[in-house]
Every structure is written in structure tokens, then in C-alpha cells.
Symmetry: C2
């Protein structure tokens, strides 16, 4: 039985593990910062892979990374906080260096693959994953198939217009879900209302985070509660859209904002159940949170490798 090298490359750290072909218990596991004074991110990544390289024959290297990429070629179009990786042929470079097949996938898509086979989504065939943190990302499995699109750019569920002419999104457009319901958008809303003179126990400032707002909301601060209610209601509106579009049997939520519990999920569910057009969409629908936590990317990379190897 061979092994798979899996990796999760984020803007802050890189995690690499060697796994048995059919399991998720690491043989070896290494973590390193993505940026460091010496050497390039690619050189550090290669060193990490060498550090976990097992005695077993390696059948593939499978990588989860943030940002847009072409899953067919393994080329990274851009990666948050890795300025060196613009149109970077990561898959090709790794395949040349190590002489094994290399698969590269978007981290949200792979987190969903991981949850589907080993986490909260086991046994389902139609799933939506939505991660709400600094940004809002998504993944979709429909009929047991990951939604990728023509150039691998599908499932950008944070980038649909929920309020025409609304707040500016980091992508440059206005009124996207990410511009209203992400962590920074929740904090920005509070800062704007504080600047308008609304009363709150919170202090305005660029350091204000969605976590600060959640703490104030739990202490009963009306502005903080209103900020989460607004974010949750727009999430509920978008979820109704996604149910009409995908008709899933389960929706899995991940990311820091999803850990704020009823603050975000109560208004989300209220809006969703009001705005769904037919009870058939919510009959037996499961709304839940991720099970795999920080390991979702690595485990998803393993599932990606299993799928790609079994289709050879």
C-alpha cells in the first residue's frame, strides 16, 4: 500500500503530511510559516515535503491552497499573502521536482470533499459548504460530483449580489454577500454606526473585530446584536437562493463567524425559512457546522487524491 503527500498552503502557514493511500492517520506531519526571511515559499514547501517523505512509495502529492487556481493544470492564479504565486505553475513545478502526479485544489472545495467523506457530510450526495471568516468562500457537491466549472472558478458563494449598490466587497464589486456578512463586514458595520453616533459599549477603530462584536452582543449590546442580525439575515436570504439553485440535503457552515452560534444562526434561519419558496427545499434539510476543523484542508486533499487516482 502506497502513501499520499497532502498539503494545506495558507497565507500564514503551510501544513504537510504523509498519509496511507486509504486512510487519514498521518504517518508524518510538519508545519512551517509560509513567509520567512530566507528562501522562497516554494523552496520552503519543497523542504517540508521532503521532511515528511515516507518509506512507502508516494502515489501522488495533493495540495489545498487559498485563492483562485486552475484545478486542471495546478496553476495558482493568485494566493492571498503569497505575492510570489501569481500565475504560478505549482502543480507542474512539484511534478517536475518529485516525479509523481500532483493535484491542486481550492481550499474551500477540498474542505467540502473532506467533510463529505470523513466529516459532517457523510452519506449525502448534494451538499453546500460555506465558510464565513475574513471572506466568504464556498464549495458545492451535486450528485456526488464537486462543482468546478469550466476554468475551476465555480462555487464563489460569497460573491453573489444580495443588496444592489450595497457595501464595497474586497473583490471590487458592491453588495456581495461577503461585503455584508463576513467578519470584517460585521466590524465595519459597527464602526459606521458608531461614527453616526449610535450608543454601544464598543469603541470604534480599525482593530475592532467580529469577535469583539460577538462578545458585546452576548453582553446585550443592541448595536452589536443588530450587526449580527443584519449579517445573519442576508446569509439567510442568500441561503434561500442557494437552496433554489442547488436543492442540497445538507448545508455545512465553517469559518470563525460560524462559531458565534445563535447570534448568526437565529436570524439566518428566520430569514431562510421565510424566504424559501417551497417547503420541499427545507424538508429534512440539515444545517450544521464543520466536524474536521483545522484538518479539513489536509483531509480534503487526501479525498481529492483518492478521487483523481481512482479515475486514472
Amino acid at each position: 500500500m502506497g502513501a499520499i503527500i497532502v498539503a494545506d498552503v495558507g497565507g500564514t502557514q503551510m501544513r504537510v503530511a504523509a498519509l496511507p493511500r486509504d486512510g487519514i492517520q498521518p504517518i508524518k506531519h510538519q508545519i512551517a510559516p509560509t513567509q520567512a526571511p530566507k528562501g522562497s515559499p516554494f523552496e520552503r514547501f519543497v523542504a517540508l515535503i521532503n521532511a515528511v517523505w515516507p518509506d512507502e512509495a508516494v502515489e501522488a502529492i495533493s495540495v489545498a491552497t487559498a485563492g483562485p487556481l486552475d484545478p486542471k493544470t495546478g496553476t495558482i492564479l493568485s494566493a492571498p499573502n503569497i505575492p510570489e504565486w501569481i500565475n504560478f505553475p505549482l502543480g507542474e513545478r512539484l511534478a517536475e521536482h518529485f516525479g509523481v502526479p500532483v493535484y491542486v485544489g481550492n481550499d474551500a472545495n477540498l474542505a467540502l470533499l473532506g467533510e463529505w467523506r470523513y466529516g459532517a457530510g457523510q452519506g449525502h450526495h448534494d451538499l453546500i459548504y460555506i465558510t464565513i471568516s475574513t471572506g466568504i468562500g464556498g464549495g458545492v457537491i451535486s450528485g456526488d460530483q464537486l462543482l468546478l466549472g469550466h476554468r475551476g472558478l465555480a462555487a464563489e458563494l460569497g460573491h453573489i449580489t444580495v443588496l444592489p449598490g450595497g457595501p464595497l466587497c474586497p473583490c471590487g464589486q458592491r453588495g456581495h454577500l461577503e461585503a455584508i456578512s463576513s467578519g470584517p463586514a460585521i466590524a465595519r458595520f459597527v464602526n459606521e454606526k458608531l461614527a453616526e453616533g449610535e450608543a454601544s459599549i464598543l469603541e470604534p477603530g480599525p482593530g475592532l473585530s467580529a469577535r469583539d462584536v460577538a462578545k458585546a452582543a452576548r453582553r446585550g449590546d443592541p448595536l452589536a446584536k443588530a450587526a449580527y442580525t443584519r449579517a445573519g439575515e442576508f446569509l439567510g436570504q442568500a441561503m434561500a437562493d442557494f437552496l433554489h439553485i442547488f436543492n442540497p440535503s445538507i448545508v455545512i457552515f465553517g469559518g470563525g463567524v460560524s462559531r458565534s452560534g445563535s447570534l448568526i444562526f437565529d436570524p439566518l434561519k428566520d430569514a431562510l425559512y421565510k424566504q424559501v419558496m417551497d417547503p420541499g427545499y427545507v424538508k429534512n434539510l440539515i444545517l450544521t457546522t464543520t466536524k474536521l476543523g483545522d484538518d479539513a484542508g489536509l483531509i480534503g486533499a487526501q479525498v481529492q487524491a483518492q478521487i483523481r487516482l481512482s479515475s486514472l
Copy 2:
């Protein structure tokens, strides 16, 4: 070589044809009104199938119908203008009667299957079909697989919220794309503006149609042009969402409103190209109209049968 019986059951008429297993040239073809003074729609449907039953062995009956249905069981949940067909087990009843496999699909989904294999979408793997007429319907193929969802209710592309709190949709929700950009929604907008006293060559009234509005727009009527511009702009906003969600290589438009040409497509394209978040989504993207016309449902039913029979 056997034959397939294909059918397209609409609220106004039923069309049934016998086709060779691997082709789309009808052996026999019959049309009848769906509603008539004598007999039930099901009895008339059975009689039509008998009338085209060929000498060749029939391998399957494949039916396209409007309205929500369960493609796994062939049960019609409801069908526009056929009040007898509520939770009606059409697939089961036909299979009992004729003793062959029966496949039932949503007409928009099947129109897309038809366009994909025999029409405007040939050679593509990731397609969106959107039909704009009395309502707005949709179909999606992603990675060569039709998007159905858990209960067959997916791809309701007319029922996403494009304007929170906006006009009432026939589904009961507010601000859906169908409530702003369908034919009746275009006429309603004009009627509302006429009631507010806006100048126009059009006369208000319940008989005013999107086609009347299109004629007036071509004669330079500012209100009529504004009605199409508004409908097209919201379609463009929704199309940007759909590109971010599905990343297709082609979008195929059908339905009466799509025949109004630049009146609807100029504002649609302007809004779409402005609101897409990355040029990768529109690079080499094809926007086009249907090729199969009125035969799309029958031809799509044939493709549905081919797919289902080949997966046995």
C-alpha cells in the same frame, strides 16, 4: 435498433413522437390539446402514445413536463394548467400501462439536455440555460452532469433574490429575478409607471404584454425602452451571480423575451460585464440563444432516455 417514445406535456398542448434509439428524426409524431371536454389529460396522453407506437421495440418512454417533479420517481408535484396532476405518479402509471421504463424530467432541464447534445451547446461541458417568458426557468450542466439536487428541485434560476423587498413573485416571495425580468413583470412595470402618469404611446391595461412593450420600444418610446433596460440590467446582475456560482463556458437563452434581441441583451451584457468580479469568468464565454426552438423538449426527452438507458 429499438425506438424511444418522447413527449413534451405543456399546459396548452401535448406533443408525442416515436424516435429511433440513436436519432432525432421522428418515425411518427402527434399533437393534441392538454385540456378537452371529454376524458382526463392522462387518458389523452395514453391515447397519443398509442397513436405513435412504432413497429420497432420501444425501449423507454421519456417525458418532459413543466412544473416541479421528482425525476427519481417520475411523480409530478404540480403542473401548470393541469389541476388533475398534483402529486400524480405519472412515471409509475405509464410504466404499468405500457410495460417499459419511463423517465420524467423538468422541461427546462430537458431543453438544456437537448441543446447540449443536438443544439447550441454542443461540445461544452459547463452550461447554463435560462428561459425568459411567462416565468423564468433554468437548467445547469456542470462537468457533463445535469444539476438536479436532492429532490430534483435544483436550477430554479428565476427564484433568486435580486432586489430585497422588491416586486412580488408568482411564487409568493419578493424581489426574485422572475418578478422583475419575466414578460409579465416587464408589462407590469409599464402599467405601474403609466398609472403614475409617465408619458408613453402605450395604453395601460391587463392585456398589455411584453411583446407590446417591445414594439413600442422599437418605435422609440422612452418608458418601453426603460422597462426592457431595467429587466435586462437585473438579468445581467443575476448572470454575474450565476457565472461566479457555475463558471460556465456558455449561457443559452430561450423563451419569448429572449427574442426581443438587443432591447434585453444590450443592458444585460452591460450589467454583466460591469458586475463580474474577474475577467476569467467572461474570457471566451459564449452568450447565445436556443437552436432547437419548439422541439427542445422532445429532443431533450430523447437525450434523457439515452443517458438513463446507457447508465443501466
